[in-house]
Amino acid sequence: MEEGVVNEILQGPLRDLFDSTQFITDVSGSGNNWAVGHKLYGCQYREQIVEKLRRVAEQCDCLQCFFVIHSMGGGTGSGLGTFVLNVLEDEFPEVYRFVTSVYPSAEDDVITSPYNSVLAMRELTEHADCVLPIENQSLVDIVNKIHHMANSGKLGAVKPNSLVTSNKGGMKEGEKPFDAMNNIVANLLLNLTSSARFEGALNMDLNEISMNLVPFPHLHYLTSSLTPLYTLADVNVPTRRLDQMFSDAFNKDHQLIRADPKHSLYLACALMVRGNVHISDLRRNIERLKPSLQFVSWNQEGWKTSLCSVPPVGHTHSLLALANNTCVKPTFIDLRDRFTRLYRKKAHLHHYLQVDGMEQSSFTDAYSSLSSLIDEYNQLDAAKGVALPDPPRINIAV
């Protein structure tokens, strides 16, 4: 809802990729206020949004999925972003909605970000098919780690175009501070769609992701990790490196949100492999890693795999691991705590309530939606490690 960033894209090296008629901008921004984005701009621009969505949808011969990419802390991304999510559900109920949400760090510079995030969370829980939460801090850590490895020279030369953060194939010159971090997310989306774009021995369409990874409608928050982060120029120990790729994917340092899946409960896990990897490599690694991971009792074999034969630029192979894991819970609890701290004092509330259509109940509803989501995760965690007897089977009289 401001022009700066969009104009920058329009003048940037990728300008030809975008249709200049497919932009909607305003001049004043949403002022870090979810209500302004969701209610005010939402109402004001609804028809324009629908029209532009329709126009681009008509050009697709098989529309499968919408990607909504936004941040949770601000006003436009979280407010208008979740408004668009609602519009998509109304206008295209059959088409999947995958949301990539950037969650604010604890030391975020937007004071109202807890409000915005919790209000947006309710929309995500109710209207998205899958949410891929991402935290800025995790992206920063990964960038630093790669930087450290690439410069320490300990491991020998790192292939320059093999970094997860590289935009090889892109056209930008002169890196800006957020570029490396943004490229990680871009690579996430590229890997997510690779099996739909290229051939492979075991295909995985986007609709298979929610089918396999979402056992209950609300629990659709998937943690993601990308490995390897970079490829070394010297190729000495290929099999070990391949297995290392699988191990790293479960390591907490490689997750795109600050969470530790290894010490939480898995509901389901997908391994999307690209490059020169065989089904036997996949099976070997699943067998190897299984003992160190906890799966929910009714889904002990909760693995979904795909093999895509085309690796990303600069790599021989790569892995995107998506997990439905209760490790997202701390992030949500943290968010709720920060929300409560503000809300107890009714701080900044008037900024929201003066927007048309925004009521105090929106806050309490969003709060209880988040709480019941946390409760659902709690219930699953409570059953962790407890061996339940198998439910009695149907008896057949002989």
Partner: protein, 450 residues
């Protein structure tokens, strides 16, 4: 008679291709037998699987179905590049978007929506056959298109061709790691197929994977390797054979005779397949086999329920009179009891092959006359590079364990209602699941008490 192969989904199309490839390569070999014999064999094989165009090209009698385009276009081009055979120009149907591993999506949405086009393709294929023997559908149970749409199409075939025979080649998923909802998709597939199909021929991925690693010595096993083994086994059944002693022509109704031999009762229609020998081409060059040895191994594989010729438990034996009377629960109680078996021997010195070992009544259920429990097909023509090879198709308790396992896992998941909402979205309700569980528990119970 001709057989129409219906290839469904990624798995079905990939295996279907390998099957035609095996059959065509086998067709072009000399078969280590007299030229006249080979001529008869080739003629029968051709009629079954291929239509010969005026220019002498072989076009497979197949219909390719998938809900996404990638696999089919890959399969078509592989066949076109084989230089020996191809798929019919208008024998395939694909859409842009897959069924997303959702059985309900394939069965309730994609199937009904495309029924007319698909059945039209099948009809055109059927009209090309002088004599239509029946259909073989190849599909996996785990995914959405093969399993869901495959089940729907099977019931359509049953309605449209009530007198033709229907054999469903079903690929049993790996125990872990392919599709998370595979157990749900499997129970829905199996219970529905049991209503409409004449027989279900089952291949377990886990078993074939082991065959690849332990018998074929493949280090990095790909799906291609697994599919080739399955195709070899299928070919060893469906290639021509003499089904009676002293027959002068190859069987004209292979599906019919197969069903007659193996499926005497509608409650029992799950078929398993074993074959021997299985080894890499490299080792094959240095190996010799005797019929006696092959048959002895095959028999023990059957009663010990070993799925390949390695790791056979030789302790298992059939109960003797004494043991039955004492009814002790010793090793002989653990043997794999059969409803019926069909042995197929192919290759050199076939006259010396004795199948007496398979005629022991103790092996079979008591309610079927022993003569009806065992059949044998033979041909002196060797199959697919193996000088001698033996295949055994069985309707036995051998699949009880994997079936029980899959039903158990699905039931555990169902008890916590996980993933059920994904199915209700397309119209498969909880009661439908319960109905499927009941059907399958009934089948488990029937096979257990053979």
């Amino acid at each position: 008679m001709s057989i129409i192969t219906v290839q469904l989904g990624q798995c079905g199309n990939q295996i279907g291709y390998e099957l035609f490839d095996v059959i065509c390569n086998d067709f072009h070999s000399n078969g280590l037998c007299p030229r006249k014999e080979n001529g008869l064999y080739q003629a029968a094989s051709k009629e079954r699987f291929f239509e010969e165009t005026e220019s002498g090209e072989f076009v497979s009698r197949a219909v390719l179905l998938d809900m996404e385009p990638k696999v089919i276009s890959q399969t078509l081009s592989l066949a076109a590049h084989s230089g020996k055979w191809s798929y019919g120009e208008k024998s395939q149907f694909s859409q842009k978007q897959g069924s997303g591993n959702n059985w309900a999506n394939g069965y309730c949405v994609h199937g009904p929506k495309h029924k007319d086009i698909i059945m039209n393709l099948v009809r055109k294929e059927a009209e090309k056959c002088d004599r239509l023997g029946g259909f073989v559908t190849i599909m996996s149970m785990a995914g959405g298109t093969g399993s869901g749409m495959g089940t729907f199409i099977t019931s359509c075939l049953r309605d449209a061709y009530p007198t033709s025979l229907l054999l469903n080649e079903v690929i049993w998923p790996y125990g872990t790691g392919e599709v998370i909802v595979q157990n749900y998709n499997s129970i829905l597939t199996l219970s529905h197929l049991y209503q409409s199909s004449d027989a279900l021929l089952v291949h377990e991925n886990d078993v074939i994977h082991k065959v690849c690693s332990q018998r074929m010595n493949i280090k990095q096993i790909s799906f291609r390797d697994v599919n080739k083994v399955i195709a070899h086994q299928l070919g060893s059944v469906f290639q021509p054979a003499y089904t009676t002693d002293g027959a002068t022509h190859y069987s004209r109704n292979p599906l019919g005779e197969l069903m007659e031999s193996l499926v005497p009762h509608p409650e029992f229609k799950m078929l398993g397949l074993r074959n021997i020998p299985q080894m890499s081409e490299h080792s094959l060059a240095y190996s010799t086999f005797t019929w006696h040895g092959l048959i002895k191994h095959l028999r023990q594989m059957l009663i010990a329920n070993a799925k390949m010729e390695e790791g056979i438990n030789w302790q298992v034996h059939l109960p003797t009179e004494v043991a039955t009377r004492n009814s002790s629960l010793s090793a002989e109680q653990l043997f794999n009891r059969s409803v019926a078996n069909l042995a197929i021997f192919r290759g050199k010195d076939i006259e010396g092959a004795s199948s007496e070992g398979f005629r022991d009544p103790a092996m079979y259920t008591p309610w079927l006359p022993p003569d009806d429990s065992f059949s044998i097909w033979k041909t002196p023509r060797s199959f697919n590079k193996y000088e001698k090879s033996a295949t055994l198709m069985s309707n036995s308790q051998g699949l009880l364990k994997p079936l029980d396992c899959i039903v158990g896992k699905a039931w555990n998941m169902f008890a916590s209602k996980a993933y059920v909402h994904q199915y209700t979205k397309y119209g498969i309700e909880e009661e439908d699941f319960l109905q499927c569980f009941t059907t399958l528990e009934q089948i488990i119970s029937s096979y257990s008490t053979l």
